[in-house]
Amino acid sequence: MTQPERSASAAGEARVVALVSSGRHPVSGRAGRAREDARAVEMGLALAGASLHLAHAGDAEDAALPEYLGMFHGLEGAGGPGELSLLPMAAGDDAVPLLANWLEAYGANLVLTGQRAECGEGSGLLPYLLAERLGWAVATGVAAIEHYAGDRVTVLQALPQGQRRRLEVRLPCLLCVDGVAPMPRQSAFGPSRRGRVEAVANVTAEPDTLQAAWQWQPARARPKRLKVVKSTNARDRFKAAAAKSSASGGQVLTDLSPEEAAEKLIDYLRRERILTAPSGE
C-alpha cells in the first residue's frame, strides 16, 4: 500500500468525509461494516488521518457505526477519537436530500464511499444523485488515491482483470471505492467505544415515495441458463445436450523443434493480441 502524497495546504483545509452504510454479512446477514464502505474509510484514514469525518443517514442504533469508528487507530499525530455525523432517518426515507444538504453545510471537499450498499435498495445510485445535485464530479471503481493536492485528486480506477487506469478528478468530488481497494484495518473495540456519534439536529427526512410502489421479496436464486439449442432436428438438440463440453480440441502441433514451437506460440499469442506486436521503435 502506498501512502498518497498530499500537499500540506490541501490536507489542512480539506474536509474529507466518508459516507458509511450498514453492511450485511453474506452468511449471517448480521449488521456490520460494509465491504466497500470499510475500504472507503480505510482510504480516507490513509489520506486524512484522524481528521476524516464519517457520515451516516439512518438509524443511530445500527451495529455497524461503532465498527467504523473502531477503525480510528494507528494514526499519525494526536489520533483523536473518530467522529460520525448521524442524520437520523427511517429505513423508508430518502437519504439523498439529507446528505446533500449536510455535505454542503459541512463544506466537504472529498467524499469517499462504497459503490453499493449492502442493505436496502443497494442500487449504488446515491453517489451519482448526490453528485448531480451538488454539481460535483464523481468517479467510480476507485482502487487507490495517488495524489491529493490543490483542486484535483489523482486516483487509480480498477478495471476488469486486475488492470488499472489513472484518473484525475476535479474537487470537490465523490469517489466510489471498489472492493479491490486495500483491505480495511481491523475495527478495534477501544476506539469504537471512544468514537462519537453526533446526531445532526434540525433535519427532517422525507419518506421515499418512489419505493412505495415496489414489492420487496426474498431474493430468489437466479435460474441457471440452460444451453438451449434451437435446431429443427432432434439429433442436433440431443447432441448438444449430451455433448461433453468443449472437448472439441484445438490445434495440436507435434514434432517441432523448440525454436519452431516458440515461433508458433509467439505467433499465436500475437494473433490473439495477448502479446503486443513488436513495435517499430
Binding site: 452468511v27 494507528g74 478495534a188 473495540f189 467505544r193
Partner: protein, 660 residues
C-alpha cells in the same frame, strides 16, 4: 578492629539495602493498585515451604542445594545480626552461626559447581558472580566467627588477614543485602517473598480446593483468565505501569532459572519467544532502561540489547516485538514449570488485549477469525445453521425438544464444522448411544465458546459470546455438559463462572472413564501388538488437571500406553492453542512436527489425542507418521456391537443415574 567494623558493615549494608528495597517497592507500586491485604504476609512461609518447594523439588539436586544455601544464609544472617551486629557474643550462638555458614558454604559449593559449565537455560552475568559471592559470604562469615568459639586466635582481630576477611564479608553483604534491595540477583528472595504473599491467584496455594482429586498439584489449578473491565479507561496493558502491581512484583521475583525457556514450545521451534526474556523485559520496562544487561538466551532471531523501555512507555514494539506475544500458544508450560509461580500467560494475554482492543493489530488471520466470530458466531465464518450438518443421519435429539430436561448436554464446539473432527463427534455419539446416555445438543443455538477470541485478546467479543451462550444455556435443563473440546471445556467450566454461568462440565475422556467405571460400556479385547501413546492437551491437562481419565480409558481398552518423555503436566503443546495457529509466527521448525518427533521416539503406531485442535495440528504433519486417533474414535472402534441396535428411542427413557 573486627568488633568495631563488623557491626558498622552489617548495619550499613542493611540500611543501604533497605533504601533499595523501598525504591523497589515504589517500582512495583507503579502498577495498578488493588486493595492491600497485609494479613497475607502471614501465609508466606507456608506458601514458600510447601507450594514453592513442591515445584522446585521436581529437580531434587537443585532443591537440596537451595535448601542448604538459602537456609544457611537466612540462619547465618539472622545470627550474624545478633552476634556481630548487636554484639551478643554467646559461644552457642557462635557455634550455630558457624554451622549455618558451613551449611551455606556446602550449598554454595554446589551452586558454584553448577556454574562452572552452566546449562544454556541459565543466565550468566551477575548470576555467575552470585555463586562466588555466596562462597565469599559463607567463608568470610565462618572465619570471622571462629574466634567466638575460641578456635582461632584473636590475632585475627588485626592485620592484613583481618582486612581480607572483612573484605570477604563486605563483598558477601553487598551482594546479599544491598543487592537484594537494589536489583542484584538476590532481589529474587526479597521480591519472591512478597510475590508469594500477594500472589494474584491465591487459589494456587489452596489445599482445600474442589478440583479433580487425582491431580499431582496440591493447589487449585487456577487457570481462568481474569475478566477485563470493558469500561476501563485503557483496555489491556500498553505500558508496564498498566499491569497490576502484583504482576510487576511477580516479574521481579524471576530467578532466571530458564525452566520456562526449556519447556516453551515456541522457543524450541525457533519462534521469537522466550518466556524468561519476556519476564526480564517486563522488569526492564518497570525499572526503565535497555535490555543490554540481560545475560541469558534472547528471543530466537531477535538480537539482545536493541530494545528499551520505561514504566510509562509503550511496551510494543520498543521493548517487546508484537511477534513475540503472538508466538505464545498459551500452553502454560512455563507457568507450570516456574518455581517462582510467575504468571507468564496472564501477562501475554494482557498485552495482547491492548494490541487487539486498542490498536486493532491482531495478526491478519486472527483478525479475520474475530470478525467472523462477531458476524457468524464461529471463527470460520460459516453458517451457524450448518453446525449439525454432519449429523443429518444420526437423528441426534435437540434439547429444544426436551423441555423436561436431559442428563447430558453435548457441547459440540467449532470442531462440528471440521470434517476430521466430525468423525470424532460421530464416534462420541456412538459411545453415548451404546451407554444409553440421555443426551441432547443445542444445535444451531450453540455458539463458539469464545476461547480463540479471548486468547487473541478480544475480550469484548469473548464476553459477548459468553453472555449469549449463558443466556442460551439458562433456557434449558440439563445435569451436566459433556464436550470433546478441551478449550470449550475449560472456558465453559472455568471462565464462564465470572459471568454468571456455573455448570458441571466434563471432558469426554472423563465422562467415558466414568461410563467404564459404571460398567455401561463393553469393549472387545484390544488387538495385541499395537502401541499407543497419549498426547495430553494443554487445556485438559495443565489447565484442568485431568491427566488420569484419558489413561484410564486407554487402560480399559486394554492397549499398552507408551508414555512420551514429555507427558502429563510436562506435555508439550501441539502448537494450536491460544490462536497461535492463526497468528502463525514463522520459526525454524513447526511445533507439531516436534511433537510428532516425541511420538515417534516412543515407537507408538498410534497417538491418542483428546482435542480437535491437537488432532488437526498433529494430522498436519506430513506422512509417514503414526496415525492420530481421538480417544472417542478408539473407544467407538472397540465397542462390542450390541445385539440390538442402539436407537434414539431408548434414550428418551430416563436412564439410571450415573455415579459421578
Amino acid at each position: 578492629m573486627l568488633q568495631t567494623l563488623l557491626p558498622i558493615l552489617i548495619f550499613a549494608a542493611l540500611a543501604v539495602g533497605a533504601a533499595g528495597a523501598v525504591r523497589r517497592i515504589r517500582l512495583w507500586r507503579q502498577g495498578r493498585r488493588t486493595p492491600m491485604r497485609w494479613h497475607r504476609l502471614v501465609l508466606m512461609p507456608k506458601r514458600y515451604l510447601n507450594d514453592l518447594h513442591h515445584v522446585v523439588a521436581r529437580d531434587k539436586a537443585i532443591a537440596h542445594t537451595h535448601v542448604a544455601t538459602a537456609g544457611g544464609f537466612v540462619a547465618a544472617m539472622a545470627l550474624a545480626l545478633v552476634v556481630h551486629g548487636f554484639g551478643w557474643r554467646n559461644p552457642i550462638l557462635g557455634g550455630l552461626l558457624l554451622a549455618a555458614s558451613l551449611c551455606m558454604f556446602i550449598g554454595a559449593l554446589a551452586v558454584n559447581r553448577r556454574r562452572i559449565d552452566p546449562p544454556a537455560k541459565l543466565s550468566k552475568g551477575p548470576w555467575q558472580r552470585l555463586s562466588k559471592s555466596l562462597l565469599a559470604y559463607s567463608v568470610g562469615m565462618f572465619l570471622v566467627s571462629l574466634p567466638l568459639v575460641g578456635v582461632a586466635p584473636t590475632v585475627l582481630g588485626g592485620g592484613v588477614l583481618a582486612l581480607i576477611l572483612l573484605a570477604l564479608v563486605a563483598w558477601g553483604l553487598a551482594e546479599m543485602l544491598i543487592g537484594m534491595g537494589w536489583g542484584g540477583p538476590m532481589k529474587h528472595a526479597f521480591a519472591g517473598t512478597f510475590h508469594l504473599a500477594f500472589h494474584r491467584r491465591p487459589e494456587r496455594f489452596d489445599d482445600q480446593h474442589r478440583d479433580v482429586a487425582h491431580d499431582v498439584h496440591r493447589g487449585s489449578r487456577s487457570t481462568a483468565l481474569f475478566p477485563l473491565d470493558l469500561t476501563a479507561k485503557t483496555l489491556g496493558v500498553e505500558k508496564p505501569a498498566d499491569f497490576q502491581w502484583e504482576q510487576l512484583l511477580g516479574f521481579d521475583a524471576c530467578v532466571q532459572c530458564g525452566r520456562c525457556q526449556n519447556v516453551c514450545p515456541a522457543y524450541a521451534a525457533g519462534q521469537p519467544l522466550n518466556p524468561k526474556k519476556l519476564i526480564q523485559d517486563m522488569v526492564v520496562g518497570m525499572a526503565g532502561g535497555s535490555d543490554a544487561r540481560y545475560a541469558g538466551s534472547g528471543y530466537p532471531g531477535i538480537e539482545v540489547g536493541k530494545h528499551h523501555g520505561g514504566p510509562t512507555d509503550a511496551i510494543v514494539p520498543q521493548l517487546v516485538e508484537a511477534q513475540t506475544l503472538w508466538a505464545c500458544t498459551t500452553c502454560r508450560a512455563c507457568v507450570e514449570e516456574c518455581p517462582m509461580m510467575i504468571e507468564h500467560v496472564d501477562a501475554i494475554v494482557d498485552m495482547r488485549r491492548f494490541i487487539t482492543l486498542e490498536r486493532g493489530e491482531t495478526p491478519e488471520k486472527g483478525a479475520a477469525a474475530i470478525d467472523n466470530l462477531i458476524a457468524t458466531d464461529n471463527p470460520g465464518g460459516l453458517d451457524n445453521a450448518s453446525r449439525l450438518d454432519w449429523a443429518a443421519d444420526l437423528d441426534i435429539p435437540r434439547i429444544q425438544q426436551r423441555p423436561e430436561g436431559v442428563d447430558v448436554l453435548l457441547w459440540l464446539g467449532d470442531g462440528a464444522f471440521d470434517m476430521r473432527n466430525q468423525r470424532t463427534l460421530r464416534s462420541l455419539v456412538k459411545i453415548l448411544r451404546a451407554a444409553e446416555v440421555d443426551f441432547a445438543v443445542l444445535g444451531d443455538e450453540e455458539r463458539d465458546s469464545g476461547d480463540v477470541a479471548r486468547r487473541l485478546g478480544d475480550e469484548a467479543t469473548f464476553q459477548r459470546l459468553a453472555e449469549r451462550n449463558i443466556a442460551t444455556l439458562s433456557r434449558y435443563r440439563f445435569q451436566r455438559i459433556v464436550t470433546a473440546d478441551p478449550h470449550s471445556f475449560h472456558v465453559l467450566g472455568r471462565e464462564y463462572g465470572a459471568f454468571g454461568g456455573d455448570y458441571v462440565v466434563k471432558h469426554h475422556s472423563t465422562f467415558i472413564a466414568e461410563l467404564f467405571d459404571a460398567g455401561r460400556l463393553s469393549v472387545k479385547a484390544a488387538e495385541p501388538g499395537e502401541t499407543v501413546t497419549y498426547h495430553d492437551p494443554c487445556y485438559l491437562g495443565r489447565y484442568n488437571g485431568e491427566f488420569a481419565a484419558p489413561r484410564q480409558v486407554l487402560a480399559a481398552l486394554g492397549v499398552e500406553v507408551a508414555e512420551m518423555e514429555r507427558s502429563g503436566y510436562r506435555s508439550r503443546c501441539c502448537g494450536g492453542g491460544g490462536g497461535a495457529a492463526l497468528s502463525d509466527v514463522p520459526g525454524k521448525a513447526r511445533i507439531p512436527d516436534m511433537r510428532m518427533e516425541d511420538v515417534r521416539e516412543t515407537g507408538a503406531t498410534t497417538v491418542a489425542v483428546a482435542c480437535p485442535q491437537c488432532t488437526a495440528m498433529l494430522e498436519g504433519v506430513v506422512e509417514p507418521r503414526p496415525q492420530v486417533k481421538d480417544l472417542a474414535e478408539l473407544v467407538a472402534a472397540a465397542l462390542a456391537e450390541p445385539a440390538a441396535a442402539p436407537t434414539a428411542r431408548n434414550s428418551t427413557e430416563a436412564p439410571e443415574e450415573v455415579p459421578a
